[in-house]
């Protein structure tokens, strides 16, 4: 007890005053910082200017810390991608994404996820990404150059051509190339073949996304694949619903105004929901009369698979 009293007496009121002073100073500092941040954006600092414009220069300057620098640039790339995606402005350019990925992979040419994710990020169409499938492919090509045994890069390149550029011939070539690499799984060959044969077919797309969904370990990729699968299912469902709507229009002479009319006829068991649980909408302005709600998480549907006109067969 006495020892405690002595300790308190040691500093006395001096201690409390100093602590209060420190807190006050820090508080003022933070207030000033907040004010400055509100008035001035950060100057042209590392967030906008890459100190080194080329990967090769960085590599030389890194002095043996290449790997960690690669990590730092990779984190920057992710933050740039994520940050831009979430930002409110309308003209998102993602202009630093490729340079950052370039730096990352130059510093560490075996940085697996930088190639694979990077390619996916680069390919995502505006506004979710820069929509630069060409850069994505060149990134993957570099990955292959550094590591020719990585059939996954070739597969990814094929995928990018297939999904984002709708260049089925190129996609098939890449799948063939991938299948020829030692250690590649057997289904790559068949995927190549079906791509060539059926092109923009939903079934082969579904197969590829399913393949991706099942083989990846990563949550983001899996969620993305699931989304795409959902979209494909939605497309099928829309076609089926369009057929019902068509039948109604033919018997009644006008398109249905509401789903309840179809439910009353027992042609539908309930209000139809898309795979994300959002109700489909009756939209007379669309070719089939049925469309995905814009509020659905599956929106927008990949345009290459939407039918142009008329019912499906």
């Amino acid at each position: 007890m006495e020892a405690l009293a002595a300790r308190v007496r040691k500093g006395g009121d001096g201690a409390l005053t100093l602590l209060a002073a420190a807190a006050l100073l820090l508080g003022s500092a933070l207030a000033l910082q907040a004010y400055r941040e509100a008035r001035h954006p950060l100057p042209l600092a590392s967030s906008d200017v890459l100190y080194f414009r080329g990967g090769a220069a960085v590599s030389r300057a890194a002095l043996g810390f290449d790997a960690i620098l690669a990590d730092v640039y990779w984190i920057r790339a992710i933050q740039h991608f994520g940050g831009t995606r979430r930002a409110q402005e309308s003209d998102k350019t993602y202009k630093l994404l490729y340079p950052l990925l370039d730096l990352t992979t130059t510093l560490d040419p075996h940085f697996n996820i930088a190639y694979r994710f990077g390619a996916l990020f680069l390919s995502e169409p505006h506004p979710a990404g820069p929509g630069r499938a060409d850069l994505a492919v060149s990134l993957l090509e570099r990955g292959l150059a550094a590591d020719p045994t990585r059939w996954q890069y070739a597969q990814d390149a094929g995928f990018v051509h297939y999904w984002f550029r709708q260049d089925y011939k190129a996609a098939a070539e890449w799948y063939f190339r991938a299948s020829r690499i030692d250690g590649a799984p057997w289904w790559l060959h068949s995927m190549a073949a079906s791509t060539l044969a059926e092109g923009g077919d939903r079934q082969s797309s579904r197969q590829m996304w399913r393949q991706l969904y099942e083989t990846t370990e990563d949550t983001w990729v899996r969620n993305n694949a699931q989304l795409k699968l959902g979209q494909l299912d939605a497309l099928d469902e829309i076609d089926a619903l369009a057929a019902v709507v068509q039948r109604f229009a033919q018997t009644r002479g006008r398109p249905p105004g509401d789903w309840s009319e179809l439910v009353a006829l027992r042609w539908l068991t309930g209000i139809p929901l898309d795979p994300s649980g959002t109700p489909y909408e009756l939209r007379p302005d669309t070719p089939g009369g049925v469309a995905l709600s814009q509020k659905s998480s599956l929106h927008p549907l990949p345009p290459q698979f939407l039918k142009k006109a008329g019912p499906t067969t």
């Binding site: 020892a3 002595a6 007496r9």
Partner: protein, 322 residues
């Protein structure tokens, strides 16, 4: 007004990192030092002498108890202006010279200009390092640093001076100089409080002493009251003696010790007449060297007290419960 007064001054340290156990460095010390006296604070190593000095100069804070220096608590700014302190084995700034150091410290007291240079110069002279004033302190020997330490303790012409082992590191000439300095300070009206484990210095200089052992005060008071100055025997040194000459000297002789070839120390009881023994041994061919009375010295008293304490004290100085 007492120069220094402490009342039940206690200092505990927590020893050990993970489960600190308290260690009592100083236990309930109460002492009084009159103004203008030379007070010796004595004790074996680890007794708490330096701890006490640091408490008095507020380098450390007490666990409990009261301190008054020149009538005020040691934290009072006035106190610092009027005291001087020489720490044990002092260390100063390598990169400064003796003169620069003293000038720095003088500046802290508010001294300036010509008066400052004058005082610095005279102090350097007084402690005998005027010749080395411009030498960087890193080149100073231990003895020279001790002198610098004394000089900086006196830079403000203090009323009260704390000296922690002032003789340490000095050669006999240096020690004589310091003794003279202490006496000079006393003559000028200063109070000198010094700690030491060299008892002959205390005997020569102090009017009053306190002895601490194991963190506790054993005794405090006038030196003359503590020691009995009666003679407890005689010590006779004779030379050129044959071993045979020292036999059968009678009961007056308590003990004979051989120093070297032909030279012997003869301890004579107090009741005997030492001159008779001298005469006897001279007739046996010996040559007289010296004859000294044996008194209970401070050292005897000291050793006696320390040994007694060690016998009764427990192994560690734990803080008592409650």
């Amino acid at each position: 007004m007492l120069a220094i007064e402490t009342e039940r001054l206690t200092k505990d340290y927590a020893v050990g990192f993970w489960r600190p156990r308290p260690y009592r460095a100083l236990d309930s010390l109460s002492l009084q030092v009159e103004p203008n006296e030379v007070f010796g604070f004595l004790g074996p190593n680890g007794a708490g002498k330096t701890t006490t000095l640091k408490l008095l100069t507020e380098l450390i804070y007490p666990t409990s108890g009261r301190i008054s220096v020149l009538g005020k608590p040691p934290s009072h700014p006035d106190v610092r202006r009027r005291v001087g302190y020489l720490p044990e084995a002092p260390y100063f700034y390598d990169y400064l010279s003796a003169e620069e150091l003293l000038t720095y410290f003088a500046g802290l007291f508010g001294l300036r200009g010509a008066e400052r240079s004058r005082r610095v110069a005279s102090l350097l002279d007084r402690v005998g390092i005027a010749g080395e004033r411009r030498l960087p302190l890193r080149k100073f020997s231990k003895g020279m640093l001790q002198r610098v330490g004394l000089a900086q303790a006196l830079i403000n012409e203090p009323e009260l001076v704390f000296l922690d082992e002032p003789m340490s590191g000095l050669d006999p000439i240096g020690r004589r100089d310091v003794r003279a300095l202490i006496l000079e300070l006393r003559d000028r009206g200063c109070t000198v409080f010094f700690s030491s484990h060299i008892l002959s210095d205390a005997e020569a200089l102090c009017s009053r002493v306190a002895i601490v052992v194991g963190g506790q005060m054993v005794i405090s008071g006038r030196l003359s009251e503590i020691l009995a100055f009666e003679v407890s025997g005689w010590e006779l040194v004779m030379a050129d003696l044959q071993p045979a000459a020292l036999e059968s000297l009678g009961s007056a002789v308590r003990k004979v010790t051989r120093i070297s070839e032909g030279r012997y120390t003869v301890e004579v009881t107090p009741e005997a007449e030492p001159e008779r023994i001298v005469g006897e041994l001279r007739s046996r061919g010996g040559r007289f060297v010296s004859l000294n009375p044996v008194r209970t010295t401070l050292e005897d008293y000291f050793v006696q007290q320390v040994t007694a304490r060690k016998a009764t004290a427990p192994a560690g100085r734990a803080v008592p419960e409650g």
